[in-house]
Protein backbone atom coordinates (compact mmCIF):
# COMPACT_ATOMS: atom_id res chain seq x y z
CA UNK A 1 0.00 0.00 0.00
CA UNK A 2 1.24 3.49 -0.68
CA UNK A 3 -0.10 6.73 0.72
CA UNK A 4 1.18 10.27 1.00
CA UNK A 5 1.48 12.45 4.04
CA UNK A 6 1.83 16.19 3.87
CA UNK A 7 1.63 19.32 5.99
CA UNK A 8 3.97 17.92 8.60
CA UNK A 9 7.59 17.20 9.28
CA UNK A 10 9.92 14.25 8.84
CA UNK A 11 9.90 13.69 12.60
CA UNK A 12 6.20 12.79 12.53
CA UNK A 13 6.59 10.68 9.39
CA UNK A 14 9.52 8.93 11.02
CA UNK A 15 7.53 8.27 14.18
CA UNK A 16 4.88 6.55 12.08
CA UNK A 17 7.47 4.49 10.26
CA UNK A 18 9.28 3.50 13.44
CA UNK A 19 6.10 2.49 15.22
CA UNK A 20 4.92 0.43 12.24
CA UNK A 21 8.16 -1.54 12.28
CA UNK A 22 8.86 -1.88 15.97
CA UNK A 23 5.77 -1.19 18.06
CA UNK A 24 2.78 -2.61 16.22
CA UNK A 25 1.67 -5.77 18.01
CA UNK A 26 1.12 -9.05 16.20
CA UNK A 27 0.97 -12.70 17.17
CA UNK A 28 3.91 -15.06 16.57
CA UNK A 29 5.01 -18.43 17.88
CA UNK A 30 7.05 -17.87 21.01
CA UNK A 31 7.15 -21.17 22.89
CA UNK A 32 7.67 -24.58 21.29
CA UNK A 33 7.44 -27.91 23.08
CA UNK A 34 9.15 -30.54 20.97
CA UNK A 35 7.91 -34.05 21.59
CA UNK A 36 9.81 -35.74 18.81
CA UNK A 37 12.16 -34.36 16.23
CA UNK A 38 14.09 -36.73 14.00
CA UNK A 39 14.21 -34.24 11.14
CA UNK A 40 17.52 -32.94 9.76
CA UNK A 41 16.95 -29.64 11.59
CA UNK A 42 17.82 -29.31 15.25
CA UNK A 43 15.18 -28.19 17.76
CA UNK A 44 16.43 -24.62 17.99
CA UNK A 45 16.49 -24.10 14.25
CA UNK A 46 13.03 -25.60 13.93
CA UNK A 47 11.64 -23.36 16.68
CA UNK A 48 13.21 -20.33 15.12
CA UNK A 49 11.60 -21.08 11.77
CA UNK A 50 8.23 -21.60 13.42
CA UNK A 51 8.56 -18.21 15.08
CA UNK A 52 9.03 -16.50 11.73
CA UNK A 53 5.80 -17.83 10.20
CA UNK A 54 3.26 -14.99 9.99
CA UNK A 55 0.19 -15.80 12.08
CA UNK A 56 -3.13 -14.21 11.17
CA UNK A 57 -5.11 -13.44 14.30
CA UNK A 58 -8.87 -13.38 13.76
CA UNK A 59 -9.72 -10.64 16.14
CA UNK A 60 -8.19 -7.46 17.42
CA UNK A 61 -4.60 -8.25 18.34
CA UNK A 62 -4.56 -5.18 20.57
CA UNK A 63 -7.26 -6.73 22.77
CA UNK A 64 -5.09 -9.76 23.45
CA UNK A 65 -3.27 -9.83 26.79
CA UNK A 66 0.48 -9.85 26.81
CA UNK A 67 1.51 -13.30 27.97
CA UNK A 68 3.91 -11.79 30.49
CA UNK A 69 1.27 -9.64 32.19
CA UNK A 70 -1.63 -12.10 31.95
CA UNK A 71 -2.93 -13.29 35.32
CA UNK A 72 -3.00 -16.92 34.17
CA UNK A 73 -0.37 -19.52 35.00
CA UNK A 74 1.54 -20.36 31.85
CA UNK A 75 -0.82 -19.47 29.05
CA UNK A 76 -4.52 -19.16 28.32
CA UNK A 77 -6.88 -18.17 25.51
CA UNK A 78 -6.72 -14.52 26.58
CA UNK A 79 -2.99 -14.30 25.96
CA UNK A 80 -2.05 -17.01 23.47
CA UNK A 81 -3.03 -19.34 20.65
CA UNK A 82 -1.85 -22.94 20.57
CA UNK A 83 -0.72 -24.83 17.50
CA UNK A 84 0.08 -28.43 16.84
CA UNK A 85 2.39 -29.94 14.25
CA UNK A 86 2.65 -33.64 13.65
CA UNK A 87 4.17 -34.96 10.45
CA UNK A 88 5.77 -38.34 9.88
CA UNK A 89 7.12 -39.61 6.61
CA UNK A 90 6.20 -43.24 6.11
CA UNK A 91 6.77 -43.14 2.36
CA UNK A 92 9.90 -43.58 0.32
CA UNK A 93 10.14 -40.04 -1.03
CA UNK A 94 11.22 -36.93 0.85
CA UNK A 95 8.25 -34.81 1.93
CA UNK A 96 7.94 -31.15 2.82
CA UNK A 97 6.65 -29.84 6.12
CA UNK A 98 5.04 -26.47 5.54
CA UNK A 99 2.98 -23.89 7.39
CA UNK A 100 -0.12 -25.76 6.16
CA UNK A 101 0.79 -28.61 8.51
CA UNK A 102 0.63 -26.24 11.47
CA UNK A 103 -2.81 -26.80 12.94
CA UNK A 104 -4.38 -24.22 15.26
CA UNK A 105 -6.08 -25.66 18.34
CA UNK A 106 -8.54 -22.74 18.42
CA UNK A 107 -10.23 -20.88 15.60
CA UNK A 108 -8.78 -17.54 16.75
CA UNK A 109 -5.70 -17.76 14.54
CA UNK A 110 -4.27 -19.45 11.48
CA UNK A 111 -0.82 -19.56 9.90
CA UNK A 112 -0.64 -17.29 6.87
CA UNK A 113 -2.62 -18.76 3.99
CA UNK A 114 -2.13 -16.72 0.87
CA UNK A 115 -3.13 -17.54 -2.69
CA UNK A 116 0.33 -16.41 -3.83
CA UNK A 117 1.85 -19.18 -1.70
CA UNK A 118 -0.23 -22.25 -2.58
CA UNK A 119 2.30 -24.62 -1.04
CA UNK A 120 2.62 -22.68 2.18
CA UNK A 121 5.87 -21.71 3.84
CA UNK A 122 8.46 -24.45 3.93
CA UNK A 123 9.58 -25.33 7.43
CA UNK A 124 11.60 -28.50 6.89
CA UNK A 125 11.94 -31.60 4.72
CA UNK A 126 11.57 -35.11 6.05
CA UNK A 127 13.27 -38.24 4.78
CA UNK A 128 12.01 -41.79 5.22
CA UNK A 129 10.72 -42.50 8.77
CA UNK A 130 11.62 -39.04 10.00
CA UNK A 131 9.08 -37.31 12.23
CA UNK A 132 8.28 -33.95 13.80
CA UNK A 133 5.78 -33.78 16.65
CA UNK A 134 5.40 -30.59 18.64
CA UNK A 135 3.05 -28.05 20.13
CA UNK A 136 3.68 -24.34 19.76
CA UNK A 137 2.30 -21.36 21.63
CA UNK A 138 1.91 -18.06 19.83
CA UNK A 139 1.84 -14.90 21.92
CA UNK A 140 1.47 -11.21 21.32
CA UNK A 141 4.60 -9.11 20.94
CA UNK A 142 6.19 -6.20 19.15
CA UNK A 143 9.01 -5.91 16.64
CA UNK A 144 11.38 -4.17 19.03
CA UNK A 145 11.57 -7.32 21.13
CA UNK A 146 11.98 -9.70 18.18
CA UNK A 147 11.64 -9.04 14.46
CA UNK A 148 9.26 -12.00 14.11
CA UNK A 149 6.53 -9.78 15.59
CA UNK A 150 7.08 -6.99 13.10
CA UNK A 151 4.05 -6.91 10.78
CA UNK A 152 5.89 -5.21 7.94
CA UNK A 153 8.50 -6.41 5.52
CA UNK A 154 8.84 -2.87 4.18
CA UNK A 155 7.80 0.38 5.82
CA UNK A 156 9.54 3.30 4.21
CA UNK A 157 8.86 6.87 3.29
CA UNK A 158 10.38 9.01 0.62
CA UNK A 159 10.54 12.77 0.24
CA UNK A 160 8.70 13.83 -2.87
CA UNK A 161 11.24 15.31 -5.28
CA UNK A 162 10.55 18.54 -7.10
CA UNK A 163 12.17 18.41 -10.53
CA UNK A 164 11.98 21.50 -12.71
CA UNK A 165 12.92 21.28 -16.36
CA UNK A 166 13.65 24.35 -18.41
CA UNK A 167 11.93 23.51 -21.69
CA UNK A 168 13.27 26.59 -23.44
CA UNK A 169 16.83 25.39 -22.83
CA UNK A 170 15.88 21.79 -23.57
CA UNK A 171 14.56 22.81 -26.98
CA UNK A 172 17.94 24.36 -27.76
CA UNK A 173 19.60 20.95 -27.37
CA UNK A 174 20.17 18.68 -30.33
CA UNK A 175 18.09 15.46 -30.32
CA UNK A 176 21.30 13.56 -29.57
CA UNK A 177 22.06 15.80 -26.58
CA UNK A 178 18.52 15.42 -25.32
CA UNK A 179 19.07 11.67 -25.46
CA UNK A 180 22.32 12.12 -23.59
CA UNK A 181 20.56 14.24 -20.98
CA UNK A 182 17.96 11.52 -20.45
CA UNK A 183 20.76 8.97 -20.26
CA UNK A 184 22.64 10.96 -17.62
CA UNK A 185 20.19 9.93 -14.90
CA UNK A 186 21.10 6.53 -13.43
CA UNK A 187 17.59 6.20 -11.96
CA UNK A 188 15.95 6.76 -15.39
CA UNK A 189 13.70 9.58 -14.22
CA UNK A 190 13.43 11.10 -17.70
CA UNK A 191 12.03 9.66 -20.87
CA UNK A 192 11.54 11.01 -24.36
CA UNK A 193 8.01 10.98 -25.70
CA UNK A 194 7.36 12.54 -29.12
CA UNK A 195 10.74 14.28 -28.94
CA UNK A 196 9.94 15.90 -25.58
CA UNK A 197 11.60 15.12 -22.28
CA UNK A 198 8.99 13.93 -19.79
CA UNK A 199 9.03 12.65 -16.20
CA UNK A 200 6.73 9.61 -15.93
CA UNK A 201 7.26 9.19 -12.18
CA UNK A 202 9.11 11.73 -10.02
CA UNK A 203 9.53 9.15 -7.25
CA UNK A 204 12.08 7.32 -9.38
CA UNK A 205 14.47 10.14 -8.49
CA UNK A 206 17.15 9.17 -5.98
CA UNK A 207 18.72 12.64 -5.80
CA UNK A 208 21.94 11.63 -7.53
CA UNK A 209 22.00 15.08 -9.19
CA UNK A 210 23.70 13.50 -12.21
CA UNK A 211 21.31 15.41 -14.51
CA UNK A 212 22.35 18.72 -12.91
CA UNK A 213 26.00 17.79 -13.30
CA UNK A 214 25.41 16.94 -16.96
CA UNK A 215 23.66 20.28 -17.50
CA UNK A 216 26.54 22.11 -15.89
CA UNK A 217 29.04 20.31 -18.12
CA UNK A 218 27.28 21.41 -21.30
CA UNK A 219 27.19 24.96 -19.95
CA UNK A 220 23.43 25.10 -19.25
CA UNK A 221 23.23 24.97 -15.43
CA UNK A 222 19.62 26.19 -15.50
CA UNK A 223 18.45 23.23 -17.58
CA UNK A 224 17.22 21.29 -14.59
CA UNK A 225 16.93 21.66 -10.82
CA UNK A 226 16.21 18.84 -8.39
CA UNK A 227 15.09 19.69 -4.89
CA UNK A 228 12.91 18.28 -2.18
CA UNK A 229 9.40 19.58 -2.43
CA UNK A 230 8.82 22.47 -0.05
CA UNK A 231 6.78 22.11 2.16
CA UNK A 232 7.65 18.42 2.15
CA UNK A 233 5.35 15.65 1.11
CA UNK A 234 6.14 12.06 2.03
CA UNK A 235 5.19 8.96 0.17
CA UNK A 236 4.89 5.91 2.38
CA UNK A 237 5.21 2.41 1.12
CA UNK A 238 3.93 -0.31 3.45
CA UNK A 239 4.26 -3.96 2.62
CA UNK A 240 3.12 -6.55 5.12
CA UNK A 241 4.34 -10.00 6.04
CA UNK A 242 0.71 -11.12 5.85
CA UNK A 243 -0.11 -11.14 9.56
CA UNK A 244 -2.03 -7.84 9.28
CA UNK A 245 -3.44 -5.87 6.36
CA UNK A 246 -1.47 -2.73 5.46
CA UNK A 247 -4.30 -0.40 6.44
CA UNK A 248 -4.65 -2.21 9.77
CA UNK A 249 -0.97 -1.60 10.44
CA UNK A 250 -1.25 2.12 9.82
CA UNK A 251 -4.33 2.34 12.01
CA UNK A 252 -2.74 0.26 14.76
CA UNK A 253 0.40 2.36 14.62
CA UNK A 254 -1.60 5.55 15.02
CA UNK A 255 -3.33 4.04 18.08
CA UNK A 256 0.04 3.07 19.57
CA UNK A 257 1.39 6.61 19.29
CA UNK A 258 -1.83 8.06 20.64
CA UNK A 259 -1.61 5.71 23.63
CA UNK A 260 1.96 6.83 24.28
CA UNK A 261 0.80 10.42 24.35
CA UNK A 262 -2.18 9.66 26.57
CA UNK A 263 0.15 8.01 29.08
CA UNK A 264 2.24 11.18 29.36
CA UNK A 265 -0.80 13.39 29.44
CA UNK A 266 -2.32 11.40 32.31
CA UNK A 267 0.92 11.75 34.20
CA UNK A 268 1.04 15.50 33.61
CA UNK A 269 -2.51 15.88 34.84
CA UNK A 270 -2.00 13.82 38.01
CA UNK A 271 1.29 15.55 38.73
CA UNK A 272 -0.47 18.88 38.71
CA UNK A 273 -3.07 17.65 41.19
CA UNK A 274 -0.41 16.28 43.52
CA UNK A 275 1.40 19.56 43.57
CA UNK A 276 -1.71 21.52 44.32
CA UNK A 277 -2.68 19.32 47.25
CA UNK A 278 -0.15 20.56 49.87
CA UNK A 279 -1.07 24.21 49.36
Amino acid sequence: MTFSLEGTDASIANALRRVMIAETPTVAIHFVRIENNTSPLNDEMLSHRLGLIPIVYRGDVRQLNSNRDCDCQGNCARCSVEFELHVRNDGEDTIEVTSHDLRALSDMAVPLDDETLPRGILICKLGKFQEIRLTAIATKGVGKEHAKWSPVSTAVFQYEPSIRLNYRLLDELSPQDRQNFVGSCPARVFEIQDGRVVIPDVYRCTYTEECMRWAEQVGKPDLVTVKQLEPPRFRFSVETTGSLKPAEIVQSCLITIQEKIRKIEDLLVTKQEEQQLPQ
Partner: protein
Amino acid sequence: MQPPPPMTMIPDPADARNATFVFLQEDHTLGNALRYMLIKHPKTHFCGYSIPHPSEAKMHFRLQSSDPELSAKDLLHEGVDSLKEMLHHIDSEFTKELARFQAAQPTQTGPASQSQSAPIDKE
Protein backbone atom coordinates in the same frame (compact mmCIF):
# COMPACT_ATOMS: atom_id res chain seq x y z
CA MET B 1 7.10 -3.87 43.45
CA GLN B 2 5.50 -0.98 41.69
CA PRO B 3 6.82 -0.20 38.22
CA PRO B 4 8.61 3.13 37.93
CA PRO B 5 6.55 5.95 36.38
CA PRO B 6 7.02 6.26 32.60
CA MET B 7 8.13 9.86 33.02
CA THR B 8 9.77 11.86 35.78
CA MET B 9 10.62 15.51 35.94
CA ILE B 10 13.95 16.96 37.03
CA PRO B 11 12.97 20.55 37.83
CA ASP B 12 15.23 23.55 37.96
CA PRO B 13 14.87 24.66 41.63
CA ALA B 14 15.52 28.27 40.73
CA ASP B 15 13.27 28.58 37.73
CA ALA B 16 10.04 26.73 36.94
CA ARG B 17 10.43 27.67 33.27
CA ASN B 18 13.21 25.11 32.89
CA ALA B 19 13.06 21.37 33.35
CA THR B 20 14.36 18.08 32.04
CA PHE B 21 11.88 15.25 31.65
CA VAL B 22 13.13 11.69 31.78
CA PHE B 23 11.03 9.27 29.74
CA LEU B 24 11.44 5.56 30.33
CA GLN B 25 10.99 3.08 27.49
CA GLU B 26 10.88 5.88 24.94
CA ASP B 27 13.24 6.76 22.12
CA HIS B 28 13.51 8.85 18.95
CA THR B 29 9.98 7.88 17.98
CA LEU B 30 8.42 10.09 20.61
CA GLY B 31 11.42 12.31 21.33
CA ASN B 32 11.83 13.71 17.85
CA ALA B 33 8.09 14.07 17.19
CA LEU B 34 7.56 15.92 20.46
CA ARG B 35 10.63 18.06 19.87
CA TYR B 36 9.22 19.10 16.50
CA MET B 37 5.86 20.06 17.98
CA LEU B 38 7.45 22.09 20.79
CA ILE B 39 10.01 23.83 18.63
CA LYS B 40 7.07 25.36 16.76
CA HIS B 41 5.52 26.63 19.99
CA PRO B 42 5.96 30.42 20.18
CA LYS B 43 6.82 30.30 23.90
CA THR B 44 9.56 27.70 23.62
CA HIS B 45 12.95 29.15 24.39
CA PHE B 46 14.82 25.87 24.12
CA CYS B 47 13.76 22.34 23.36
CA GLY B 48 15.86 19.29 22.67
CA TYR B 49 16.13 15.63 23.46
CA SER B 50 18.86 13.08 23.86
CA ILE B 51 19.30 9.43 24.56
CA PRO B 52 22.14 9.53 27.10
CA HIS B 53 23.14 5.91 26.71
CA PRO B 54 22.15 3.44 23.99
CA SER B 55 21.80 0.52 26.41
CA GLU B 56 19.44 2.37 28.71
CA ALA B 57 15.84 2.74 27.52
CA LYS B 58 15.76 6.37 28.60
CA MET B 59 15.09 9.57 26.75
CA HIS B 60 15.92 12.98 28.23
CA PHE B 61 13.77 15.84 27.08
CA ARG B 62 14.96 19.34 27.91
CA LEU B 63 12.51 22.18 27.82
CA GLN B 64 12.83 25.88 28.60
CA SER B 65 9.97 28.30 28.26
CA SER B 66 10.38 31.97 27.44
CA ASP B 67 7.30 33.09 29.34
CA PRO B 68 7.63 33.55 33.15
CA GLU B 69 3.95 32.70 33.45
CA LEU B 70 4.37 29.38 31.67
CA SER B 71 6.20 26.57 33.47
CA ALA B 72 8.11 23.93 31.55
CA LYS B 73 5.59 21.36 32.66
CA ASP B 74 2.65 23.34 31.29
CA LEU B 75 4.57 23.93 28.10
CA LEU B 76 5.16 20.19 27.75
CA HIS B 77 1.46 19.68 28.29
CA GLU B 78 0.70 22.05 25.43
CA GLY B 79 3.21 20.29 23.21
CA VAL B 80 1.72 16.92 24.02
CA ASP B 81 -1.73 18.29 23.25
CA SER B 82 -0.72 19.63 19.87
CA LEU B 83 0.97 16.33 18.99
CA LYS B 84 -2.21 14.56 20.01
CA GLU B 85 -4.24 16.83 17.76
CA MET B 86 -1.92 16.25 14.84
CA LEU B 87 -2.13 12.47 15.19
CA HIS B 88 -5.86 12.67 15.54
CA HIS B 89 -5.94 14.63 12.31
CA ILE B 90 -3.72 12.12 10.49
CA ASP B 91 -5.90 9.32 11.81
CA SER B 92 -9.16 10.85 10.59
CA GLU B 93 -7.69 11.87 7.23
CA PHE B 94 -6.31 8.37 6.73
CA THR B 95 -9.61 6.75 7.61
CA LYS B 96 -11.47 9.10 5.28
CA GLU B 97 -9.05 8.49 2.44
CA LEU B 98 -9.11 4.73 2.95
CA ALA B 99 -12.90 4.67 2.76
CA ARG B 100 -12.80 6.82 -0.37
CA PHE B 101 -10.23 4.54 -1.96
CA GLN B 102 -12.09 1.36 -1.10
CA ALA B 103 -15.34 2.78 -2.45
CA ALA B 104 -13.60 3.62 -5.73
CA GLN B 105 -12.26 0.08 -6.14
CA PRO B 106 -14.08 -2.18 -8.58
CA THR B 107 -16.03 -4.71 -6.52
CA GLN B 108 -13.95 -7.79 -5.94
CA THR B 109 -15.11 -11.29 -5.24
CA GLY B 110 -14.43 -12.31 -1.69
CA PRO B 111 -13.25 -9.94 1.03
CA ALA B 112 -10.04 -11.97 1.46
CA SER B 113 -8.43 -10.65 -1.71
CA GLN B 114 -9.19 -7.08 -0.76
CA SER B 115 -6.47 -4.47 -1.41
CA GLN B 116 -3.48 -6.33 -0.02
CA SER B 117 -1.09 -4.35 -2.13
CA ALA B 118 -3.33 -1.87 -3.87
CA PRO B 119 -1.98 1.65 -4.13
CA ILE B 120 -3.69 4.48 -2.35
CA ASP B 121 -2.70 7.81 -3.73
CA LYS B 122 -3.99 10.72 -1.81
CA GLU B 123 -3.93 13.94 -3.75
